[in-house]
């Protein structure tokens, strides 16, 4: 396992070098900070997405769900839009980006807890209904967001426009400082939970009898998931199937039920996908389609296959 993780790290380094150098023009003093911040943001997003997905899959006890599929990032965008809608763009512009982020991320965490904790508890009794609810909730959030955006003046609209769709090429670097802090704390806390999470993969009953406080762990994981989703959505917008794609890949590359390994490999693969995919698609192939659309296609197909695989007649 260790050698595989090292390989992944090496590949990630190569991707980073490629990202920094290929097609670079102008003096290094400009290129390095310009691309460097974007690179840092991508790595951050990669780890935030993979960690939140792993957490969510473990507490919901299945491998086809991700926070995005359940509508978490749609919820974030909706809360952001709702804030502009109800507070008004002017008040909003006056605030610093950091404060806006802190407020919306906290609101998002509360809303996610309220909505998804009851939903999660019904997972073992009716998983299909829970997933369906999540997807429909996501659709509802998106429609509500669209609705509020149309109610807002076009000028105010620009404040939130950036958050509504995924864009790995243009990243909101203004938030990088606070995002780094939040992401590191979140991933760190998740890392500390890794042994409890290992126990949870054995099943509810086993976890309880081994002395893991199920509800507490679930709540903690849900809060971390919400915060990490807020970070990644604030930086690059909703990511749809990316989490599912990279965590499923990670389970293939490091097929071992230990969160200590899974967190690392999923994080590395996630960063590789973002940075490598970005480099290859946009710099080498000059594809006009953004990486997010390609990931949507691949991840959507994977989701469909996973659903069908579990339920063939």
């Amino acid at each position: 396992m260790r050698s595989r993780l090292i390989w992944l790290a090496v590949i990630l380094c190569l991707c980073c070098i490629g990202y920094m150098t290929i097609g670079a023009r102008g003096p290094l003093s400009f290129v390095i900070p310009f691309r460097g911040t974007k690179l840092a943001a991508l790595i951050l997003v990669g780890f935030a997405i993979s960690t939140s997905t792993v957490l969510f899959q473990t507490v919901s006890q299945n491998r086809i769900l991700t926070p995005s599929i359940m509508g978490f990032d749609a919820l974030y965008v909706m809360i952001l839009t709702g804030a502009v809608f109800f507070l008004g763009g002017m008040a909003f512009v006056g605030l610093s980006d950091q404060i806006i982020f802190a407020v919306t991320a906290s609101a998002m965490t509360l809303a996610a807890l309220a909505l998804f904790s009851t939903l999660l508890r019904s997972a073992h009794s009716n998983l299909m209904r829970m997933i369906l609810t999540g997807i429909v909730l996501g659709a509802l959030f998106r429609s509500l967001t669209d609705f509020m955006q149309r109610m807002i003046d076009p000028n105010e609209f620009s404040v939130i426009q950036g958050a509504s769709y995924a864009r790995f090429a243009q990243i909101e670097t203004d938030l990088l400082m606070i995002a780094t802090v939040v992401c590191c704390v979140g991933v760190g806390l998740a890392w500390r939970m890794r042994f409890a999470l290992d126990v949870m993969t054995l099943g509810r009953e086993a976890a309880v009898s081994l002395g893991v406080d199920l509800r507490r762990t679930q709540m903690k994981a849900l809060v971390l998931t919400a915060v990490l989703v807020a970070v990644s959505t604030a930086l690059v917008g909703p990511v749809a199937f990316l989490g599912l794609l990279v965590v499923s890949l990670a389970r293939l590359v490091t097929p071992i039920e230990k969160h200590g390994v899974l967190f690392v490999s999923a994080g590395l693969i996630s960063a590789i996908t973002l940075i490598g995919g970005q480099t290859i698609l946009e710099r080498l192939f000059k594809l006009s389609t953004p990486l997010s659309v390609v990931i949507d296609l691949l991840g959507g197909a994977l989701f469909l296959i996973l659903l069908l695989k579990g339920h063939r007649r």
Binding site: V136, L140, D296
Partner: protein, 317 residues
């Protein structure tokens, strides 16, 4: 039952009346006599728009109802299970290959791709265990989303993004005389399904019952799918994807009046038309003088009703 037909017809007439007089250009009932411009406005814009909403809503509700019978699951509808997205894919491909193609050609190819994607959905559903009824709509949503992603992918490559945003979120603001008439074909298609209403009701009882009653199961299913695909394609070509009408309306009608389609299909059509027209009017009024697309209004209202249905009917929905 007749009482309910009257009620539905009255509601629809009332909404149509409102729809004629609501819009950016101020129009009052009295203007009809005083102002010749008023009649022109109604003829060119308001009337077509009203008719388009009525037909699109009514036919989509009928298509949803038929699809629920064919798939034997109450939580599916063409616009969220790949048929609508398939139609959008077809239009996109025609637009790329032959930009000068007539609207009729676009519509025909869109119907064909819509049929292919619905057949694909049906083939997948056949393999699912009957013990998991909620898996069917779930797969449908993901399948539809996947084809939608394919549409976006192709559109990016061909630099046609602004085109598809029109098809993927339905709205009626672009409906003018000369641009909506294809929808009458959809209305004709939905009317024809009424003649086969009994057959669809029988198919809803399963393959064994259908065969035992002397019907050719595959043939009825295929006819139903063709009707659904045609209706979806025509709607997508003229006004874009309108979600959830086909899902919530048949569910509500079935809850209230049962599944005897010969009796309930007219109600399904009237309620679908009223819901869509009502949402369009609401979209025109909420942010006057700007408009909120009907797809967005129904996205909110429909998703909320869907969730309610999901929890009202625990399992054997």
């Amino acid at each position: 039952m007749t009482r309910w037909y009257w009620a539905g017809g009255f509601a629809l007439a009332f909404l149509s009346f409102i729809s004629i007089f609501v819009g950016v250009i101020d129009l009052s009932f009295g203007d009809l006599w005083r102002d010749p411009e008023a009649l022109r406005l109604i003829g060119i814009s308001r009337f077509p728009r009203t008719i388009a909403a009525v037909i699109a809503g009514g036919t989509l509700a009928v298509a949803g109802c038929v699809m629920q019978m064919l798939v034997r699951n109450r939580f599916v509808e063409p616009m969220t299970a790949g048929t609508g997205q398939g139609a959008a894919l077809g239009i996109l491909v025609v637009t790329i290959l032959t930009p000068q193609a007539s609207i009729f050609l676009k519509m025909s190819l869109a119907s064909v791709t819509a049929l292919v994607t619905s057949l694909g959905f049906l083939a997948i559903v056949r393999r699912l265990p009957p013990t998991q009824p909620l898996l069917v709509p779930l797969i449908g949503l993901v399948y539809g989303g996947l084809i939608g992603a394919a549409v976006v992918f192709v559109a990016y490559q061909a630099d046609l993004l602004q085109f598809i945003s029109v098809w993927l979120n339905g709205e009626f603001s672009g409906v003018l005389r000369g641009r909506y008439e294809l929808l009458w074909l959809a209305a004709a298609g939905a009317a024809l399904t009424y003649f086969a209403a009994d057959q669809f009701a029988i198919v809803g009882m399963g393959q064994a019952v259908t065969t035992s009653l002397g019907l050719n199961y595959k043939q009825v299913v295929l006819v139903g799918l063709i009707a659904i695909s045609l209706i979806s394609a025509l709607t997508v070509v003229t006004v874009g994807i309108i979600p959830f009408v086909g899902l919530v309306v048949p569910n509500i009608i079935s809850r209230l009046f049962g599944d005897n389609l010969r009796r309930t299909l007219p109600l399904v059509a009237m309620m679908g038309a009223s819901l869509t027209l009502g949402s369009d009017i609401a979209g025109r009024l909420i942010r006057f003088p700007f408009e909120v697309p009907v797809g967005t209004v129904l996205g909110v209202v429909g998703a909320a009703i869907f969730l309610w249905l999901l929890y009202r009917t625990p399992r054997y929905a």
